[in-house]
């Protein structure tokens, strides 16, 4: 249970916003995305300093003990600034998966490091990219007390930078979560070229890789992690959608054609009004999902609604933003395409909108 007050929350969001405006602006982002790691280690260190890496980690393991509500809010800021950092991979997915594993030893061993900025990531789906049980193509085999992994995991965020890999693998007709250290023999990491240049996607090939299983956690823990991660992603999408819309509206006030600001034309104005509705929908859906998940009750409906509503809204807003800007946004130098790239990536990570729509219906019993 989070102990954050509304003031704590607002203050933290404000600190992150200021830091990102100061050191995570567009120029910094463009520099970071051209580096092999894809992120600015100095900026990551400052985010860690603010506690962001351990935001959802229990204070018993040196985290801030925040919940989905705090996470969603911070992710709105990260999304608005297109933050390129291992926050989502390590601070959200890995932290949530370890926390959900029920393995006290693993928590003590791993979580304090993550809170201090050590990087972990989660390997879940194979080449199918479904983030469902069907999609898992790594298998685990036991030899005495040890387990060995074989197979492939793909679309792994920051796989090359991670010290610790948490691998979801098939075992004994079910699923288990396995810890693999960086550099373990038999593990082959390939960085994949990604459409969103601010992401680092990797493919992991396992050839009899020794691994440690986290307790007896199975798909339930994965599912719990995915819900928190979906809420975080929804926050990122809502924040990004809002920012790229703001940029576009601002441009429409200053760009003059036919002797008038283009925003005075209904062709542009009406698009902006429709997109504002999409942006508000995304924010409401993301925050509601966070509140439901934080409440501890049934949250599936809210989470899946946020998952597809935010993905669709961000994709639509980022796409229309380029159209509304016109030629200037067809250039590499303009930031609009960076938002479209992120929107398209976010709409695939952890499952695409049609999948979430189906889950939404199922959650409401249809």
């Amino acid at each position: 249970m989070s102990t954050f007050t509304a003031e704590d929350r607002a203050a933290m969001a404000e600190s992150v916003r200021r830091l990102l405006a100061d050191k995570g602006d567009e120029a910094a982002l463009r520099r970071a995305m051209e580096t092999p790691s894809g992120y600015d280690a100095a900026l990551w260190a400052e985010l860690v300093e603010l506690g962001v890496a351990g935001l959802i980690i229990d204070p018993a393991y040196d985290g801030l003990g925040g919940g989905p509500v705090e996470l969603e809010l911070i992710m709105e800021e990260a999304g608005a600034a297109l933050l390129a950092a291992p926050l989502f991979a390590s601070g959200v997915m890995a932290a949530a998966l370890i926390s959900a594993s029920g393995d006290e030893g693993a928590k003590e061993r791993l979580l304090p490091g993550l809170a201090r900025g050590r990087i972990a990531t989660v390997a879940l789906t194979g080449d199918a990219g479904t983030w469902t049980p069907d999609g898992v193509t790594v298998g685990a085999h036991s030899h005495g007390a040890r387990a060995f992994l074989d197979g492939t995991a793909s679309f792994v965020l920051h796989g090359a930078a991670a010290d610790v890999l948490l691998v979801v693998a098939r075992v004994d007709g079910g699923f288990g979560i396995f810890e693999v250290a960086k550099g373990t023999p038999g593990l082959e990491i390939t960085t994949l070229p990604s459409f969103d240049r601010t992401l680092r996607l990797t493919k992991l090939d396992f050839h009899h890789v020794p691994a440690t299983r986290l307790g007896i956690a199975g798909w339930d823990a994965v599912e719990a992690m995915l819900k928190i991660a979906l809420v975080a992603l929804a926050g990122e999408q809502a924040g990004g959608a809002r920012r790229v819309l703001d940029m576009t509206v601002q441009y429409a006030k200053t760009r003059i054609q036919f002797g008038r600001a283009i925003g005075s034309f209904q062709a542009i104005k009406h698009m902006a009004a429709d997109l504002l509705l999409e942006a508000e929908n995304a924010t409401s859906a993301a925050r509601h999902a966070a509140q439901q998940l934080a409440g501890g009750g049934e949250a599936d409906e809210a989470v899946y609604l946020a998952a597809f509503a935010c993905a669709d809204a961000y994709s639509k807003i980022a796409a229309d933003a380029i159209q509304m800007h016109g030629g200037i946004a067809f250039t590499w130098a303009h930031p609009a395409h960076l938002y479209l790239r992120r929107a398209r990536a976010d709409a695939q990570l952890l499952g695409a909108p049609p999948y979430h729509r189906e889950r939404y219906l199922q959650a409401m019993g249809a």
């Binding site: 509206v249 429409a252 006030k253 008038r260 600001a261 925003g263 005075s264 034309f265 209904q266 542009i268 104005k269 009406h270 902006a272 009004a273 429709d274 504002l276 509705l277 508000e280 929908n281 924010t283 409401s284 859906a285 925050r287 509601h288 609604l305 597809f308 509503a309 049609p354 729509r357 189906e358 939404y360 219906l361 409401m364 019993g365 249809a366």
Partner: protein
């Protein structure tokens, strides 16, 4: 008087007078005799308009104290309090009316003796309301009114209509409009029900031929009508709830539930349709979440842009739900009428969705408003804004 004394007084009065036995109203335009009797009691005891001055049925109370009274009324489900927030016509009359007019009408409006309607839109002035051509010409102590109004709800039962009419044709369009309370019960006013696209008659046309209105019933002064109208519209928007209707038949659970309808149609397993269903369901849900967030923001004192989006959202919800219903029924939607209630619902909703996307300002006008007032985008140049109305092109 302290809050506690006030609360005690209103509780005691309600306990002594309120029996909670009013019959349901026949329709929203008329007030029955039992309601009128109750409202008269409320007005007589000065609970109707507590923020208003005592000379006009009020108590000069602060907003906070007035709310105490309204909460007590609401707690026992008694109507009649808080009309200083909700009675659009009475508020407009109090704010802009002459003392003669207020003395003649205010009390009757609050007690429901006097029914009202709106005489704003015209066949030639819909989205462009400032383009009205109904004329009011001064004749001694009166004005003579000629013209045609449309989309008037409750015109048949109304005693007075809030009328905008042109009183000066030689100035730009916004500057030559005046605002009147026109008596509907006079020979020059003819009300004709308008048969709507849904085959219902909710609205009327009002033909005005040499009707007369006293200069005492002019609000806000000559040629100041546009300003009065803006204020009245703002009140209207602030009290207007979500006016969108569901199917004709109330209480039919299945008809209101798209999932049940899909199941009934045997299409709940169709994967393409399921995607469509999830999308359409999400629109209504997202709108509810937006409204809840706006409310929470408002409670914390931060204003929200969401309120102005609600109408646009509702238009999409209604049109999309109607489209999905039609898709679920397939050829079944060819049929209509009482014997085919599912088809009748889908067909009715398909047409009635325009009530929301056109009525009260079209979606296109709403997008202008959102663009300009919420997003601060510049206005479109208006070529008729500064020339004498006489020279403005019409058609």
């Amino acid at each position: 008087m302290t809050d506690e004394e006030l609360r005690t007084e209103v509780r005691a009065w309600l306990a002594a007078n309120w029996k909670n036995d009013l019959p349901a109203r026949a329709d929203q335009w008329t007030v029955g005799p039992e309601q009128r009797a109750w409202l008269a009691k409320v007005v007589e005891a000065r609970w109707a308009v507590n923020r208003w001055p005592s000379e006009w049925c009020g108590r000069d109370l602060s907003d906070a104290q007035a709310k105490i009274i309204e909460r007590e009324f609401a707690a026992v489900k008694a109507p009649g309090a808080g009309q200083d927030r909700t009675h659009l016509y009475a508020i407009t009359a109090l704010t802009f009316g002459t003392d003669v007019m207020k003395a003649a009408l205010l009390k009757g409006m609050l007690t429901g003796e006097i029914n009202m309607c709106l005489l704003y839109s015209e066949p030639g002035a819909g989205s462009d309301l400032a383009g009205i051509r109904t004329r009011a010409t001064r004749d001694g102590e009166e004005f003579v009114v000629n013209g045609q109004k449309v989309w008037t709800s409750g015109a048949a039962t109304a005693d007075y209509g809030m009328l905008i009419a042109r009183t000066d044709w030689d100035v730009p369009k916004h500057n030559g409009i005046s605002f009147f309370f026109l008596s509907m019960k006079q020979p020059g006013v003819e009300v004709r029900p308008l048969r709507q696209v849904t085959d219902e008659s909710h609205f009327n046309e009002v033909f005005i031929t040499d009707a007369r209105v006293s200069a005492d019933f002019l609000l806000g002064g000559l040629n100041n009508g546009w300003r009065v109208l803006q204020t009245a519209l703002a009140y209207e928007r602030s009290v207007m709830g979500d006016g969108a209707r569901g199917p004709r038949r109330a209480g039919d659970g299945a008809a209101n539930d798209l999932v049940a309808l899909a199941r009934e149609a045997g299409k709940l397993d169709d994967p393409v349709l399921r995607q469509d269903l999830a999308k359409v369901l999400s629109y209504r849900r997202l709108n509810a979440l937006n409204n809840a967030r706006a409310k929470a923001d408002l409670a914390q004192g931060t204003s929200s842009s969401i309120m102005s989006l609600g109408k646009l959202a509702m238009s999409r919800i209604l049109h999309e739900e109607a489209r999905l219903r039609t898709a679920l029924l397939g050829a079944g939607s060819l049929l209509d009428g009482e014997a085919f209630p599912r088809a009748d619902d889908a067909n009715f909703l398909t047409l009635n969705a325009y009530f929301t996307s056109i009525g009260g300002g079209t979606d296109q006008i709403q997008r202008n408003i959102i663009g300009e007032r919420v997003l601060s985008l510049p206005k479109e140049p208006e070529i008729d804004r500064t020339i004498p109305f006489r020279d403005v092109r019409a058609g």
